[in-house]
Amino acid sequence: MRRNNFSEVVTAPARLYDRDGTVQPNDAIMDRSDAQALIERIKKFSKAEAVEVQIFGGNVTNVRFADNQMSTAGGVSDFQVGVQSYFGAKHAIVTSNEVTDEALKAMVEKSEKLARLAPDDPESMPQLPPQQYQPVEAYFPSVANMSAEERAKIALTALEPCRAAGDLTAAGYLENRTAFNAYGTSTGLFAYHRGTSSNYTITARTKDGTGSGWAGAEHNDARMVDYAGVSRRAIEKARASRTPVAVEPGRYTVIMEPQAVGDLCQLIAFYADARATDEGRSPFVKQGGGTKVGEKILDERISMYADPFDPMVRAQPYDGDGLPLGRQEFIKDGVLKTLYYSRFWAKKKGVQPTGAPTSFLMSGGTSSVEDMIKATPRGILVTRLWYLREVDPRTILYTGLTRDGTFLIENGKITKAVKNFRFNDSPLFMLNNLEMLGRPERLAGTEAGGAVVVPAVKVRDFNFTSLSDAI
């Protein structure tokens, strides 16, 4: 549980404002100096002992299609202003999307009134002094300026081949996001980040309902996304996955494509909270007390880290408290190096805070998925996982299902499509049964969200517990 993080409780896309506080339609996002000016303006209204202001938002445009037909398409511009006022250990957050002086003043007053009424928060931390941030260049006009006509053409990269094929149907989604985030405090700290991303995913299905294939891609720069290639991959998977056969559930050697790996392995970071571990309620508690830091918990080829500067990530280089985020290793060569420390818990324990990282990366190897298949006498190839849910927090045991392309490998070749499986397994168990590692890739989003870069993996003894008839 992290402290006072605006972005945990409010989400909103957005649009530009000018110095009079009026909206300019169809324009870009707030630049650094405008954002700083607005934050300074809001700070002047404050009568609290300390105040924090966050502004975030942008433009989000999308095209959605299904059943070989356009369904919805839209453009949303908005931003949110959040104000947190402090009186000693009392504090409260108020957010609004209004930027007239009158509304801003009312918002500041409201957060002050709520803060005064709130009970003391004994874990309230003093604001950070001004920080130095290494900028991350994540803004690309290829995304920010893409027109509605260009977006419709991307949808056609899937719709045209599926309609022409006659036996295929496509459902997909393109989302272009241009977003900014600015944060300032009474101490003079100011942080600003802006970025773009283009996310494209498509599911092709055979019209007889026996085959389904998924593919996706995401990048900060639209020029780096091969939209037609993504459409093609999903179509190929749909055809290959037709009329799956039932294979007995049980323990299998499994090759997971990066999308499946990301959904499962990102969970390790989610559970690696120092406080929960110190309190005895995490998978990283040692029997009898203490933590597993310093112990080897995964195969020695696995390292997990956060790095907002990685060219495949380009994430915000600070967290919700304005704490600068650099490259941080959590697992190095299979050894748990550190858990996640909030500023409060770090102070209590006398260590450096890690903050709340904005990215998740996992080290890889050099094998391709094809290499892994060739080296597999019998196994299962998994495209993606679905509906992951915690079964036992003590071991990160999760359940979920395979989806949109599950294949049997025999003697180094894909021999047939198989029915989907439900699994009950933990990424901690899985990454101790590692055989091969692929090259890390940026994922098109995960169930948990965030910028995620992970490789394909080949593992032994992955636990499939039942079959599903779902295609």
Binding site: D78, E98, A103, L117, Y387
Partner: protein, 541 residues
């Protein structure tokens, strides 16, 4: 010309009023609180003028049909742990969303600029997006007719607006409840939060409907954690109360302090529970558990957009497809199984006067006497079932399931309240247990996962009780059941009567791209399921 500032001034709820009301109440703390029973809203003239401006602009730009929604969406959270506050948050967002249908293709645009110029620009953008998409059109979208509602207003069942309650009163209640929970042995941690939503929705469409509605929703989230003294185990007890479409009056009725003692003790007891032996058991499922199984395995697969492939790229499709192979034919469960869709149960989360297309929702049976009878629909979807409705002598109309979670989100088909109706015989959860020889009774929802066509599911729970010879003989842990939807529902052989009916639900049901959140309730009676596969989920790291 109406400016954003004028809208705020005349909008009835000035921006500062929410917090001010809290402060004023503190000053009046010694005076007994006057309970203002909230009344249905009247649409402000300036809001109506902006809606009309948007619709006109859309028409002039070439829309055949358009609708506009100006909404104010408020959220309030108070979050605590043990004897301390974690956070107090108040969010507020206002804007307009406009949907335009041009030559059978949709476009949508949303803006926070509530000026005549701003809403007209957004309307033109919606039309421009629709026109840009015509190149990729396959079939014309058509809307089922719906009567115009020229001047309607409605509010849901809340009585006391949570925004009139001071934050310290909310925090105090939670902290007292946390303290009561921590009295139980080994209960070291309690998380608790109050979460309120208020939606002031103003709607108009080019058919002539003009509708104002206010909806308040409340949720209490609590989790009690017991840690064994040797750090070898920890157990949680959560999901103790259903979220509801009611206000502060409901929060006070929950006896949070008294009940926390019980919930804390239940967490503590779970540390001593016996790990379940894998095998087949008869399951007696309480409404606090069964609602989620209904949600996942009946309510989702009977969303018509899912069945037709509209969610294939994200939430998934449905095994209840194609509809013509299932309607009136497919035996979902026993003869006594009736599943109703509605948006009318007072205090339920999906309950509204009108949906986000201006349709007054009706009550309809999704499963009738065990067979598939209908799907959840919007105006765009109703005509897809034309042949079925004609064969049944029913008009083709929307069931009123259109919903957008914000002014900035496009409306689409979302779940109404979907409920298992009571059986004829008046029998209780305890009666079902007494009739069971070897089984497990499950209370509360826990881990849940289901495939993208809603066949194969696995459900945990909060509390598991071993039944032997019609009696509860002890508590179990590490229990989850695996099921295949049609087999599971056809294995149902007993259900409770009217008196055992309870309404539970979800505050955060996700669907769509971009993702939207819907709050939905599910009424249920307790029910028994024969011979279900139970696994043990406990393992050592």
């Amino acid at each position: 010309m109406t400016s954003r500032r004028d809208f705020l001034k005349t909008g009835g709820v000035a921006a500062g009023a929410v917090a001010l009301s809290g402060a004023l109440r503190t000053a009046e703390a010694a005076v007994p609180r006057v309970r203002h029973v909230a009344t249905a809203p009247e649409m402000d003239a300036s809001v109506k003028a902006l809606l009309m401006e948007a619709l006109n602009a859309a028409k002039l730009a070439g829309a055949g049909y358009a609708d506009a929604r100006i909404g104010r969406y408020l959220q309030n959270f108070v979050v605590t742990r043990e004897q301390q506050i974690i956070n107090v948050v108040d969010t507020d967002s206002i804007g307009i969303g406009i949907r335009a249908l041009v030559d059978g293709t949709w476009g949508f645009a949303a803006s926070r600029d509530l000026t005549t110029g701003g809403v007209a620009a957004a309307a033109r953008e919606a039309v421009a997006i629709a026109k840009a998409n015509r190149v990729a059109r396959d079939r014309m979208i058509t809307l089922a007719p719906a009567p115009a509602v020229p001047n309607a207003s409605w509010k849901n069942a809340y009585e006391v607006d949570p925004w009139t309650i001071p934050v310290e009163e909310k925090a105090d209640l939670l902290i007292k409840s946390n303290g009561a929970g921590m009295k139980a042995a080994n209960v070291k941690y309690v998380f608790s939060a109050l979460f309120f939503r208020k939606q002031e929705r103003n709607y108009a469409n080019t058919d002539g409907s003009v509708i104002a509605q206010t909806i308040v929703q409340s949720a209490i989230q609590q989790q009690f954690t017991a840690v064994s003294p040797d750090f070898s185990d920890f157990q949680n007890r959560g999901n103790t109360m259903p979220p509801v479409g009611r206000g502060w009056e409901w929060v006070l009725q929950q006896n949070l302090v008294q009940n926390a003692t019980k919930w804390g003790e239940e967490a503590s007891q779970k540390l001593k529970a016996r790990p379940v032996d894998v095998g087949r058991y008869d399951l007696v499922l309480h409404p606090s558990h069964l609602w989620l199984t209904i949600h996942e395995s009946i309510a989702h697969p009977t969303e018509l957009d899912r069945a037709m492939g509209y969610e294939a790229n994200y939430a998934g499709t449905s095994f209840v497809a194609p509809p013509q192979d299932f309607l009136g034919k497919f035996k979902y469960g026993p003869e006594f199984m009736n599943i109703q869709g509605d948006r009318s149960q007072p205090g339920a989360l999906a309950t509204v006067g009108y949906d986000d297309e201006g349709v007054a929702p009706d009550e309809f049976l999704i499963i009738k006497n065990g067979k598939v009878n209908d799907y959840q629909t919007t105006r765009e979807q109703a005509s897809w079932l034309d042949a079925w409705y004609t064969s049944q002598g029913k008009p083709t109309r929307s069931h009123g399931c259109s919903y957008a979670d914000n002014w900035s989100s496009v409306q689409f088909q979302r779940m109404p309240n979907v409920s298992l109706l009571p059986g004829e015989k008046e029998q209780s959860f305890e009666d079902l247990i007494a009739a069971t020889d070897k089984g497990i009774a499950i209370v509360g929802d826990g881990s849940f996962s289901i495939d993208q066509q809603r066949y194969n599911a696995q459900f945990g729970g909060q509390l598991f009780y071993e039944i032997k010879g019609g009696k509860i003989v002890g508590m179990l842990k590490d229990v989850a059941y695996q099921m295949r939807t049609p087999d599971f529902w056809n294995a149902m052989d007993m259900i409770g009567g009217k008196k055992s009916y309870e309404v539970w639900g979800s505050f955060f049901d996700g669907k769509g791209q971009p993702g939207q959140v819907n709050a939905v309730s599910h009424g249920s009676v307790p029910a028994r399921f024969r011979n279900v596969n139970v696994i043990n989920t406990g393992r050592k790291a």
